[in-house]
Symmetry: D2
């Protein structure tokens, strides 16, 4: 309990906006009588959101949006505080679904989700009490829009992801720091003077590029959208097609949100010792299948670095191509999560008031 | 063995200059017949230096310059390669001295040291075979100069530390990256917009300031040397006396090489939640004694963060005031250590040739 | 003629996109038979737009959107090329209106305007042949929207100003360079270490802030919009209310697009020797009337710097509070104007094709 | 008189260190009874030095160190203040020498020089009263050292140029701003995204590189010294041999202090429309003779831009290859000159006290 509590306290320090929202809404106890069902990445920041909602009167059941990202000490702490916590590290698929069922059995009035697994399950099991919900991610919103198109969406959901204060600060500033930190932590390489190729100049790419330049790296941008490419050019970065810079990059970071950005024709041209990393949400931006087809037995050199050897060269893949800031570092900092979770909390209060 | 070997190979990738020096000097086997006694921080980078020297013909005995920084897997690997390795993690003082004695019993011709403990011991036990040596640090050089003044220095020593390619690159660029990385890794705080007070604008301070600005922090410099202060001002930093900015800083980083830079009168003015870290070699720049006198029972919030509570506020001390980049991160990157160790290797070859 | 031609050629070098649009549209001679009436700032960049439109078949009459910004050599050159040019440096109000009338007497089919003076006149005199037009500025678009609301707009107008490639590149990048250059050219001050207060963090403010930081100035942002203020904070700038930083700024730059941003209560707190400049379109952001009420006889110290003396201090006003990059430097660079004028040219061709 | 006085007052604002030196030394009137002979660039900053020396009791005669850089209004002002001023704009060689003679005829006790023309003349005419002097430039110091070697130096001279506060601030910070400003003022080009090749990474090169990056240019460094090249690399710049980047640079700036840095083999590879500029003291870094051999009749496109046409391309030479910040802009800012002139003034007082 103690470690989880300390981690919760630490994160609280940097999330004072949640505290302010609590103070402003404390009169009337706006969440009193409401049951919240949450399906989120269980981190120290999440515990701050959960505790704040409880302090505003809510009853809460919580499961994890991802079996791999559960912080066990936080689970222990939240349980000790009377939060119904259905989550543990390394759940099996069956356990994962069972946890979601447990949250639904709790009969939530409001559902807070990250990826929409809980929303979809609520629809499947026709939970009748739900009066509204929120969704944190783009991909989760997509799934709900599909339901809406089929006129099967049973309750209104607020797309928290679409808030400017979410995607701009979260994607640009938060990810900018945490991706670069994840790469240093995983590989130990010195970034000064390294040629870092950043694929995509959206909010994430802009943030990563700015931080990489701040570390004195030599940043090269690849971008297929012409206006973004022009923006990158005027921001003072080299802008080139990926195929042309494949052979000169020391480190590649995919930030595009697209599939198979780095493919066979690029990897073939890359130099010996190249490092490949992904900053996008899903592990689809680097063609890992191709790497495995060339070397089915890569060597794990460092905890998060696999070495693929073929064609007389070595290719280092970080975190198996999964999102580097969450796997190799601690994800977005508390200050940034505070902005996302402020939107979540305000949305919950809004739904409760307008029930 | 395997992990140590992989770590050695990883570091080798980024230290190709040692490989080049080896190739250039391979004819004639310049270190053949020489016994080297080394007392260094045992890291993956050190293993690259050791293996290169062995490949040039040297016989080698190795102990650690610091009981806390021993990489056990590297020790195992080096032993498996036939290097006489007298070191293990968490040596007691007695064991530490015994390891140094073991290296001297090996009767080295050349001594390579980091801090001069091995040099001093060689003088104490009047090792007769030593024909020369090197010293990596400023403080080690000081001890040797003191011997020289008393006309008691028994053999010539090259002060590798004084090379421009050592102190400039090591201190400015290497430390610039690793200190900032250590702070993020230890605390998880977001640096964008944080007011970071950097005490001292020497090589280390310049490097840390540049990287902190690159992370979008708001950097404030304190510096008592007027020309350095003017340089910091023209580099676009706020420059103020420490006492005046004590109450506005979010994070303080000491980079001065001086004693008791951050003292009672500063800490008293600091705000609640301030973070104190040290980037200097010794743990003397922050007055930890004062903190302990105010709160004899600090809480360890995170593995490297202690919370001192007094006067109604909390002060977070990172790594107990010890050097943050070595304690909380991996020290200087391989690319930077390669420059220092190139000087070491060239010095060893020079001594051997001029024996 | 020669100087105007050379200036036209120089600008052409950096506006190749207009050349490419010409080449792509040359077949069919899309502007043949169309009369264009233009009311623009007559600069070397404008001559490139005019010559390109002529090469695509148009007949052209041109007057100036501002009597003070006429480049006389460009007028001479354009006249020599057969363009009907009704403009000269320092026109009186009467002459200015007479020039506009001359363009209307030319009976244009398409009107290209900067500020909408020509559009308004065309409505007043009920020009019947006009089939469409474009407008470059925000304020011009406002006047036309007012006509539209009253159902009195006689022909469709494309708001070129609203294109992302106009306001982002023009306002952020172009103005970022030219405002800083204008300040240096007017005052000669060294920017390194200077405390520069930038009022407003819209596109112009962002651009000016980035360039000022690039010159190693110490940048402070004032911004009333909370999300923009947070963005400025995370970009690593000091963010404060203007009233709090009035007494510490060395240079103030208004970039807000609002009226009376810098007022009596701010100026009263400012220090001796402060420099006030405006980067907004209109000369309303600094309360010049207040300055004049305090010192009705300011001294012109340098060609673009007036010194107001009162309350025992001196306040330096640059360019009488008018937009510093156009008055003290050459306005936006050719590369940036090329983007705006590409939109203009494509709009003209679109209108001609859809007549 | 009025304009010169205003310009003097403007510069005084930014040179308060001279005022402080005056205040500190005012007792005892240390320069009373001394005649100073000065040979300096006659700028507004110089007038501040001259007036301060006069206020400390000196009698003064002044001539110009360069016939082209004389500020006529400053001459008029100084004359009106009783300074013996022997200088005017565009002196002939004969007039230039005559002015120097006039200063010697004044029988100075102390000589302050920039280039050593006055010192050499004093030796030629065996001025007997001179008890000491100062010299501002590297090249001037060279000439005096040559005299010293031949044991013909008649009085001690302080090499003001060698002060750390002169060469570091003057060369890095001052030149960094003024060179970039000179290029923008001369050509009007937008620097964002431009590939700027900087030849040499000494103090000037470092300053220009930092400012160019601050303007969002893409900076490439060429440097033959390996340690400086490594420094540039770790500072995050592209570092390449000039011959390899000749064909990709948009703008070249020589900052090397060497002769014929940009030569035929480089110019032949450059692309159409390239801009060549020099930031070094002498006009020898770009091989202008080669350009003239290829096009003996270059066209002056803009006041400071000559277009050489040959081999089917155009090469734009700025300021005929002379130092761009002095020719196209106002040289170093007052704040920077204040540091140089503080050294001058302290040296003069020292000489007077130790006569």
């Amino acid at each position: 309990v103690e470690n989880g509590k300390l981690a919760y306290q630490w994160a609280s320090n940097y999330m004072s906006i949640l505290h302010k929202i609590k103070q402003k809404n404390q009169k009337g106890n706006p969440l009193f009588g409401f049951k919240l069902g949450l399906c989120l990445h269980i981190t120290r920041e999440t515990s701050v959101l959960v505790m704040t909602a409880r302090d505003l009167g809510a009853e809460i059941a919580l499961c994890s949006a991802n079996p791999l990202t559960v912080n066990q000490e936080i689970c222990t702490f939240l349980s000790s505080e009377g939060i119904n916590t259905f989550a543990w590290r390394n759940e099996t698929d069956e356990e994962y679904n069972s946890c979601i069922r447990s949250v639904l059995d709790f009969k939530p009035d409001i559902i807070i989700d990250d990826g929409s697994d809980l929303h979809i399950a609520a629809h499947k099991y026709k939970s009748k009490r739900v009066c509204g919900g929120t969704e944190e991610t783009t991909s989760g919103v997509k799934r709900l829009k599909s339901l809406q198109t089929k006129k099967r969406l049973l309750y209104p959901v607020i797309a928290v992801n679409n808030a400017f204060t979410k995607y701009m600060f979260d994607n640009r500033y938060g990810t900018g720091q945490s991706v670069i930190e994840g790469i240093i932590r995983a590989t130990g390489v010195f970034l000064g003077g390294k040629k870092i190729v950043i694929c995509g100049y959206g909010w994430v790419g802009r943030g990563v590029a700015a931080t990489a330049r701040g570390m004195k790296a030599l940043v090269i941008i690849t971008e297929i959208d012409p206006i973004r490419a022009l923006e990158a050019y005027m921001d003072g970065f080299y802008v080139k097609p990926l195929i042309e810079v494949a052979e000169i990059g020391d480190i590649f970071i995919t930030c595009s949100g697209q599939k198979e950005v780095i493919r066979q024709e690029h990897i073939e041209r890359m130099k010996n010792g190249v490092i490949l990393t992904n900053a996008g949400h899903f592990d689809v931006e680097i063609d890992v299948k191709y790497l495995k087809s060339m070397d089915c037995n890569p060597v794990r050199l460092l905890p998060y670095v696999d070495c693929y050897s073929f064609d007389g060269k070595k290719v280092y893949l970080v975190a198996q191509g999964r999102v580097v800031n969450l796997v190799c570092a601690d994800g977005n900092p508390s200050e940034i999560m505070a902005l996302s979770f402020a939107n979540q909390l305000l949305s919950i209060i809004f739904i409760a008031k307008n029930d």
